[in-house]
Amino acid sequence: MTSSHILTGRYFMNGDHACAEGAIAAGCRFFGGYPITPSTEIAEHLSSRMPQIGGVYIQMEDEMGSMATVLGASAAGARAMTATSGPGFSLMMENIGLAAMMEIPCLVVNVQRGSPSTGLPTLPGQADVMQARWGSHGDYGVVAYAPWSPQEFFDLTVHSFNVADRYRIPVLLLADEVVGHMVERVEIPEADKIPHWGRKRPIGSKKEFKPFEAIDDDLVPPLAHAGEGYRLHFTGLTHDERGYPDMSADTHQVLVSRLVEKINRNPKDLIRTETFHLEGARIVVIAFGSTARSARRAVRVARERGLPVGFLRLISIWPFPEQLIRELAQDVDAFVMAEMNLGQMIREVERHVEQPVLGVNHAGGAMLAPEPILEAIEKVANNGSTSSR
């Protein structure tokens, strides 16, 4: 990586541009995409930056092509990404599954807007969280992050590339229109302060190398690239350790279990959360992405009013921090889950706790404001417990 390409410094920058600079700082040198609001600024910014740094910007004919070309570039060794929003995310699902199956690292940014369908192109939403988890057909582990500020959009872009490479997976970065378009201070660190976890690369004989053999405990096989002399075979069909198709239930069981298990087994690298005011909390508010900003304010005000409320911010939405939620559940009376959709993440919370979980929801189109979250906190505090779903 050439450090001079990293624009170390302080900027007043929107989230989409911060993501693009984060990608460059992470060493991404390939962007394939199709413009769509509110992610377009990422494409625009990279179309001007990539030519400056010897990278590739290619504007594809659609999002199926975008996803495929990103995988091709990554298979040839490049850190590669695309960026989109709801309608394009749906089209990418096909090859997000291929990325999971071929174990080709890449970054897919979804700056969420109001949905379903064309929905609200210029306005925010958070209703793609379950699509992110289950969108492509079949079982596979998923890692998805949700930034709440332009700075975090930058940081998580870097982190997502690291996770993608380290675990040989497509990482999904689920921003939303608010975070994509808002302008805030963004500090781009010095090159040597930017964490870089490379790909795990094969060692030993090229002839003996099996591209899907997971020798290590983390269940991640080393990744060889096209043109290196390994005579690789990659397929979306169920395959054995050599990568050869094997149409058997046994091989399928082994392969798919590993795709799921390699994510489950490594929570330390993957799960990220942040907590505020948990001391003495009887109620915990949970939120992610831009909604977490409103939740943060609501919790602060509630604390000022003497209510025993704490806050958990999900930075990784997948894997879901179920362990932490279960631990919190030992000490609290109720949860409040705030999200800009009609109740998706709340199902995850409910799966792991006995206590009532009150949802604060909005279909999208405007940021969920602090007031309804505060009201929910007060309602829960006054009732002792409640569930309104």
């Binding site: 594809m60 091709g72 090859n95 291929l98 075979h233 050869y244 198709p245």
Partner: protein, 276 residues
Amino acid sequence: MVQPLLVEEHPLDGLIRADRMPHIWCPGCGIGIVMRCYAQAIINSGIDIEKHVVVSGIGCSGRVAGYMNIDSYHTTHGRGIPFAVGLKLANPELCVTVFSGDGDLAAIGGNHLIHAARRNIDITVICANNFNYGMTGGQMGPTTPYGALSTTSVYGCPEHPFNLVNLLAAAGANFVSRWTTIHVRQVIDDVLYAFNKPGFSFIEVLAPCPIGFGKSNDLEQGVDETLLYRERCVHEPDTALDKLGIDLREDQPIYVGRFVDREAPAYQPIRLEVEK
């Protein structure tokens, strides 16, 4: 009595994944011949075998990626071309070939096909055209001739097929040719030519599919379709592009040859500063 001749070595040893044989193709299928031509072109190319990469979509033709003993990517249905574009742009040293079927390339992947040709990306596409979706059991597709029978056109195909040569020429490919499985030498030559030709090259090879297409169209055996090629093929490279449509029902010629060979600049990502 005829003595069997035992050969120690086959010229393609090392290029075919012997551990994946037997292949899935039916007796009389033409795809293997086209793959054989591609493999021969790789040998003749003198380009380091490690730099050759083959990408396929899904279909019987798409299985080629699984049988070639080079870096090979068997992608999703229709997406071979954009995957190949990513490989090529990320590592321009690679000699990237897409080997796939008519349905994969021209139906579900049709948009990628014309746009890669429009951009004139420096890859080679070999299309095994068997006039149907062989893999799924012989449905009509974008190249099925008008009136031909298939499992989803039991009263005769009501649609007009693509004239792929004309399509690719209009889209902007630098090199476009059409041959059949009887034109082994020409196919090898053109694939080889395409490897070295900057820009987008498209080689259509008509291939018998006795199971999916032949049996419902009076071409019961692979050899029947092969004989039909021999009778009908006309090598007239100067034929107007819009006259190159294929109609198997009537006593129409099947035009073969190199139809487009031009020197438009190949796609280059914009570079303001070249990284060493």
